[in-house]
Every structure is written in C-alpha cells, then in structure tokens.
Symmetry: none
Subunit: 209 residues, 4 copies
Amino acid sequence: MFPSPPEDTGCASRKPVTARRQGTRQRLFEAAVALISEQGVESTSVDRIAERAGVAKGTVYYNFSGKEELYATLIEWGVDRLAGDLRAASAGPPREALFSVLRAELEFIGTHEALARLLMAEAWRTGQAWYTTARHIRDDAIGAIAELLDSMAAEGQIPSDLDTGVASSALFGMTVTVALDWRALQPERPIEEIHATLVRMAEGFLTAP
Amino acid sequence: MFPSPPEDTGCASRKPVTARRQGTRQRLFEAAVALISEQGVESTSVDRIAERAGVAKGTVYYNFSGKEELYATLIEWGVDRLAGDLRAASAGPPREALFSVLRAELEFIGTHEALARLLMAEAWRTGQAWYTTARHIRDDAIGAIAELLDSMAAEGQIPSDLDTGVASSALFGMTVTVALDWRALQPERPIEEIHATLVRMAEGFLTAP
Amino acid sequence: MFPSPPEDTGCASRKPVTARRQGTRQRLFEAAVALISEQGVESTSVDRIAERAGVAKGTVYYNFSGKEELYATLIEWGVDRLAGDLRAASAGPPREALFSVLRAELEFIGTHEALARLLMAEAWRTGQAWYTTARHIRDDAIGAIAELLDSMAAEGQIPSDLDTGVASSALFGMTVTVALDWRALQPERPIEEIHATLVRMAEGFLTAP
Amino acid sequence: MFPSPPEDTGCASRKPVTARRQGTRQRLFEAAVALISEQGVESTSVDRIAERAGVAKGTVYYNFSGKEELYATLIEWGVDRLAGDLRAASAGPPREALFSVLRAELEFIGTHEALARLLMAEAWRTGQAWYTTARHIRDDAIGAIAELLDSMAAEGQIPSDLDTGVASSALFGMTVTVALDWRALQPERPIEEIHATLVRMAEGFLTAP
DNA sequence: GATGAATGAGGCTTCATTCAT
DNA sequence: TATGAATGAAGCCTCATTCAT
C-alpha cells in the first residue's frame, strides 16, 4: 500500500542507506502521509510525525533534511502514483480507455482520499514555491488524459479544433470533484453508479458538435 | 465590493454596536479577506491583519472573538458571494442559463482568484470542523446548478434519469479546475476562449443519450 | 551605571515606546550585559536572559528583534562607553593626556572586566559579520589614542615619521593585556602600581629615537 | 607541521594504541585544528570534524572522550607551539633576542592567524574552566619574554626596579594587538614595516628612565 | 472603544553523545 | 577499530491571546 519513498535524498550526502534506515524512513514517510493528508502541512508538527512513527524527533532530521523535504517527498510520491494509475488505465482503444481512466481516477481518490484532498488543495495553491507541484500534476496526471484526447482527435472521434488542454483539465477536475463529493456525502454508494454518470457525461461530450 | 460582515458576533457579548465600531470591524474584515486570500490562514498573523487595517492588535480581539471567527466570517462571505453570483446568472431559459452560470463561475474565479483557491482548498478539507464550509458550498453554489438541471430534466432537455446531483457537481468542478488552470498557466487568454470550450463540452453533455 | 540602550530599534516599526516598555528593555539589556559578558554570546541562551530579567521569553522578542540585535546593542554600547571614557581623558597637554588615557583604559577594564573581555574577544574575531565591531573599536577607541599621538607628532614630542596608526594600536593593546592580566592574576594590586609601570614604558617610548 | 596530539587520553580507558589508531587520531586532530581555528568551537560541529577527517562520527568518540577533549588538546598544542617559537627566538644577546622574539610572535600570528585569534579569545575568557589556558599562555609564552627581561635587568640594560612581569605582558599584548590589526586591516604591508615600528617602540622602552 | 506590552505554549532545527553492529 | 543510526535536550523564534490602561 505504501511503497518506499525515494530511497535516498540523492544529494551529495554519501549515506550508505542500510536496511534499518530504510525501515525508519518508511515509517516516517507513512506517518507523514497519514497526518499531513488529514490535517494539512501547517497543522502537522514534526513532533507528532515522529511520535506516530514511533521514533525520536531528531530521527526525522536524520532521515530527511527537514519538514519541507518530507512534504515534498510526499507530494511527489502522491503525484507519481496518481499519474501512474491513470497511465496504466489509458491503454487500449481510446474511447474505452477514457472511461477506464476516469474510473482509475475515481478509484485512486476512493482509496487515497486524504492524499487526494491534499493534492488538490496543493495543486491550486498560489505562490512560486508550489508552482512545481501544480505543474507536475498537470503534466503527469492531466497529461495522461490530454494524450488520450489528442489521439482521439487524430482519429476523428472528437472535433479536431477542440482545445484538448482545456478539455483534459475539465475531465480531470470534473472527476475529482465528483469523487470527493461522493466520499464526503454518499460514501455508501457503489463506485459503479458514480462512474456510470461520469461516463454518460463524457459520452455526450465525445459526440459534441 | 466588500459588504459588511455580520454586524455582531451575536454572542453573549453585549457590546453596543456603534457606527465607529462598525467601521473598525469593516476595516478589519477587509484586511483579513485580502491577507488570508493571498497567503492562507496559517500564514496570516493577527499582527499583520491589524497592521493592514491600521489598528492595534488588541482591537482585533475587541471586535472579533479571535482569528477563527474572523476566518469563518470570511469563508461565509466568500461562499455567499459565489452562490449569489451563480444564482443571479441562472435566470432565463435553462439552456442559456447554464452557459451563463458557467461564465459567472469563470468570472468569479478570475476576479477573486485567491479567494477561490482558498474556498476550494477549504471545501475539500477533511475533518469535522470544516464540514460546514463544504456543505455550504455544495448547498448554495452547486445547488444553484442542480436546480437548473432539475428544471431542464423536467422540461425534457436532459434525460430524466440522470443523477443531477452528480452532474451539477461535475459541471461545477470542471469549471473550477479549468478556471484555476487558466489563471495559473495562461492568464493572458481571453475569458471567451475558455468559456467557449466549456460551453462546447456542456452542450455535448446536454444532448447525451 | 547602565544607561539605557538605544531607545528604539529605529526601524520602521512605529512603536510609541512607553515608559513601561523602556523599563523592560532596560532590564533585558542589563541581564544580557551581565550574562553575555560572563559567558559569551553562544553560551548565553535567550531563555536565561529572560529569566534573569524577570520576564517571559516572548518579551525578549517583543523588545528586540532577536538575540543578534540584543548582542549588537550590547557591543555598541560597550564600545561607545569605552571610547567615551578614553576621549574624556584625552584633554589637556598631550603628554599628560596620554598617561591619563592609559589610566582611563585601565579603569574601564577594572570596572567592566567581563565586558572588556567580550570586546577584546570580539574585536579579533574573524568573519565579515564582526568586521563592524572591530572597525568600530579601532575607529573610536584606538582612534582617540591615535589623535593624541598625531598632535604630539605635530608638536615634535615624538618623531614625525613614526607610524601613529601602529603605535596607537600598540599602546592600546599593551594596556588591555596588562589590565586583563592584572585582574586575572593579581587583582589585589592597586591600580597605581600597574599604571606606573605602563607610564614608565610609555615615557621611554615617547623619547624613542 | 602538525605534530601528533598527546598519544593517548591517558585516562583509564585501556585502549591499545596501534599505529592505525594513531593515524586516525592524527587526522581527527588536524581536522579539528583547521575547523575550530577558522570558525570557533561552538560553530564547529563534531559532524563536520569527522567529515573533514574522512571518518564516521562515532570514530571521534572512539578516539577522544568528546568534543571538549579535542578542543583542549588543540589549545594545548597551539600554546606549546607559540611558546616554542618564542623560546627558539630568544637565544643570543638579550637586546637582539627581544627584537627577534617580537618578530617570531608577528610571524606566528601571520602564519596561524585563525589559531592566534582563538588563543587570544581563549586567554581572556573568564571562568574557572579556562583558567588553565590563560595560565599556560602566561607561563609559557609571556614567560619567555619575562626571562629575557630579567636577564637584561641583571645586566643593567633596563632599570632593575622595573616590574618585568607587567612589562613582558605589555610587550606580548602590544605585539599581538598590532599583529592582528595588521592582518585584519592591512595584510598587504610587509612584515618588516610592522616589525620596525615595534622595535622602535621597544627600543625607546629599553632606554626608559 | 481602543491600545500595545506582555505572555507562554508550541514549532522547527541543531548537535553532542550513545550503542548495537 | 570503526561505524552510523538513533536519541533527546536545548536553542531560537512565532504568534494567538490576555489585560491593565
């Protein structure tokens, strides 16, 4: 469920990275994912992360350069995973692939709800420091949808003059919003129902003038 | 542009509400809107709010029960204003009304970009304390779209078995995402272009099977 | 004994500076002088300064921008006071004035021993951040001696080709070292004895070839 | 250039002193000299010392009892070296020997500027823990000058009633101050110029009444 | 009504030291 | 002999809040 975070900071620090250390990094990362996803970055103290991971506070700083790196690692991991899921679902004939991608997005959010909320809040945060995250999401996650639309446009399944950049963003956001609403208000509804409605809307769109 | 915040805290504090006090409250509220919208709640200190409002720090606490109340008031005001804009745009024949609502949403985000980001981040935040805000947005803002879809379903313009709850959420989220992407990545594009693409997608959806 | 530190940070912060606040600043400054003089900057925690001043830790930061400003204020005050003492003693006929200045330096160090140690340690610290202090001491304290030597050279009391910059530095350092040795090793000796030896050495120098 | 530090801690720790260990101790000591001289004790972390020595952090504690011992060893080594240089220069006829000692002091400071600053700061530090260092410098370094003056007094080259303790301290401090001023403010001046001025002053003093 | 000095809890980070390997 | 992961005390600083004026 929680694959290891990037195995080393990759910086000049020549730390051999033993098995023990990887274990600690892993526990810290999981604790951070859990807490930050639930409460946001600013409300999550390093103290609590350490406590949840069952290590001393100093250990956080031995394994990560600081709160920021922990957070950046978390976001990166989340985006990569989301993008990976979407791309994995985008194989096959474009039309079905699109529906499959929407389903993968729904599933990701259903499974990693807190992380999804965090990514969304982050993606739209303003300020230079966060531009990277936003860009990353757009390029990787929305990019997977855009590629699909482009190939459909090439095959004449959607109008060639449609702005696929805007359209992919719209499909992505539509699904995120619906998914989060679903989890927050009607978590008991089966995913199929939600997906069916999304597909209907997307189908209409595919046959648009 | 900045309507007064609720005129009194309504709490047991029996403070006579004079004209002077209303003026101070107003200035504090405006300062809070400006700063919190730009930098988020946690990054905005009471000190800075007071400074921007041109009053002493203690005055914040004389006029509001604390930072939290100031923030809650701000969110409330933002949601009300967004919902108001959407409802104002939803008059007239349903089909055109829908396009007009999407445009109003685009305009709101274009004009109050920072506030919009804040509302979105807030809307998707988890935890009991924030449920209210999310619910409020859903009931008021998305509700405006849902009513429109319901009336269209009644007139047969869209299939009667469509889940208008999910659909309105989808239309709302689609527009928010596109709008924020627009502001962040291509702010120089005219709103008409963005709106046109959204309308095309919505049209397709309206004629869906 | 401890005149007020510079009355206001002088920065853009428009704080009215009330009597109460001045009192607190004063107490903090005195506590800082006492502790930092005794133990050095790095070994003196803000916590202890606050404790000694009888205020809460936060009060330190309300009255000074941080540890650094407190420290800079202290150094500045010390240098000003030392330079002031030396200049005050440098009036009158140059020859006697010189002996009087050496005496003033002895007295300053005898009275503010800890502060003197701090200034000396500081004056010779390396690194850009401390250059200012060093320069300040040199310009103000050693400068007072250099001026004296210059006027003596003008009157033919010392050779006109003597490097008064180096010579004043030598006289200053000679006195500091002797004074600190005196305080550390033979504090019971009367100041007159120490002064007499210094004067003898200086006299020899005055009649140098 | 860097003689080995005392070969063993001498404490109860019965660690066999192998050649390998001596090599490690040596590297650690050199790293400590370099770093602490440049940045001071408090700003030099054990981490950086280990890094510079090319060993793991734990190795520092295997070879020294802690940071404090490393530091004490360093100071001791510095004082010994300074005193050695001064004594080596004090051979020959007293008058020339004195000038030669002053030159040796200038050269030591010119060559080991950072270490010299550290020693001076240390020498004047207050507090029981540091008394040893101060005493050491006084006995060894200033002692070398005092012996010279005593022999001159015995030969009638200086008044027999002069306080040679104070005078040697004065000569030492005069030279240190001038030397550090030289390095800090006019490092481009040749050592001869500085030395010449010092010699002139000392000569005057030698012929004092 | 308004002020601003004072507070103290709590956050982030550094670092000397220990210890199992 | 040497290592490096882990520790926790201690440091600096921010900031929402209180209260006497």
